[in-house]
């Protein structure tokens, strides 16, 4: 009897909370604290984490299974705070940028200059390597390996109040991304 009540309760909150049949992003709990509520089902959604902590046995296992839905959507674990997202992001996990090997993608080629975006705030500009077997493969969309020097080139000049920034990162081009090197890379 108690199990049946739990099941119906869970099914109601899940259908109210995640709405897998729509394409709209789900309102997060942080957002419901303000006046902006996208749907009227916010209170049920907010109650979910408290009830989960106290449910024993089958109910907890049911909740765990509903998180692993075949369409890839996750349940309450999807609403991570900004601090958690930041802490787990590759940029923070990487640590200091100097001498880190990353992979980037060329998004613009101007003559011999390759503009490579590697997932940070700025892109880096590298010179195309001189004549070699792979010289023709450095085109727009190619993935390359880089050794980072700096995420943003800034310097404080005499008499200036703030740093002058070049709006670019600095990295050395190591080569094209081959399959065998993919396992060693962070990004």
């Amino acid at each position: 009897m108690r199990v049946c009540c739990v099941l119906t309760n869970k099914m109601r909150t899940i259908s109210g909370g995640t709405r897998p049949w729509t394409n709209r992003p789900v309102l997060h709990t942080k957002c419901t604290k303000t006046a902006y509520t996208g749907s009227g089902k916010a209170p049920e959604h907010l109650q979910e984490p408290d009830q989960d902590a106290r449910k024993p046995g089958f109910a907890a296992a049911y909740e765990l299974h509903t998180d692993l839905r075949p369409d890839g959507r996750r349940g309450p674990a999807d609403e991570e705070s900004f601090a958690t997202l930041l802490r787990r992001s590759p940029l923070v996990q990487m640590g200091p940028a100097r001498d880190r090997i990353v992979t980037g993608r060329i998004f613009k080629v101007v003559g011999d200059d390759l503009y490579v975006d590697f997932g940070a705030k700025f892109h880096c500009v590298c010179r195309r390597p001189p004549e070699g077997p792979d010289a023709g493969r450095y085109q727009r969309g190619a993935r390359v390996r880089l050794r980072l020097e700096d995420l943003e080139l800034t310097a404080r000049f005499l008499g200036a109040a703030t740093d002058t920034t070049l709006l670019e990162a600095e990295a050395t081009l190591l080569g094209l991304l081959d399959g065998k090197d993919a396992a060693k890379l962070k990004k």
Partner: protein, 272 residues
Amino acid sequence: MAAGFVTKAFRGLRWPRLPAALVSCSGHAYGTAAAAETAALPTLHESTDDTENLLRLSLNQPDFFRLSEIFNLKDLFNARVHLGHKKGCRHRLMEPYLFGSRLDVDIIDLEQTVEHLRLALNFTAHVAFCGGVILFVSRRRQFSHLVESMAKECGEYAHTRYWQGGLLTNAHIQYGTGVRLPDLVVFLSTLNNVFQQHVAVRDAAKMNIPTVGVVDSNCNPSLITYPVPGNDDTPAAMELYCRLFKMTINRAKDKRKQLELLRGLGSSAGPL
């Protein structure tokens, strides 16, 4: 060339349809953003009761256009909106909006950005709902085409070229009398190419035009009515902002058309 472009913008679709009464109130002072919304209602000389009811209806609910659905914190994070400049480039007044500094790189607090962006988009939607003229300004050459095509797609205006000094403050002399100034200026980057604040920020404040602006960690947010702390250098972030503003404005305009049709007003009511 720039003057010709802006003239065409200001004397575009909306100018021929404006009655003389509205032209005369285009220079009215709007002290705050809230006053701008409410002042639009009583100063209409030719509005009917239906139009006023429509406009008041939109102000009854906090999220009339349901803009909280179109983005969330994860979208902002994936678009790298939280990345700021280095610590040495930081503007003192941006410190409240920063989450912290990681290895000398400033990180913008996305929890605050979500709130600010929601307010900004809501205000933009209300201005578009009331038939206001929105001008997108950005001096980043990398994103100039993106901003211009986005403005074209949502039926609003953009200015991504050299800003002539008297464009807003001297408009009646430079472009003739009775020019309608924008009702909202949206800055997708508040700096110009020499890392100084864009002249339009100060000029819009002088002309009592509310502004929405994306402020990075090296920008001054003080003169902007609805600042949105966020990254303005990465293409992913700029594409996200453009997409959000376009969706907001289109949503607001569609809602206006839908409500007008429902009430049987037809096309005779005009933009305001």
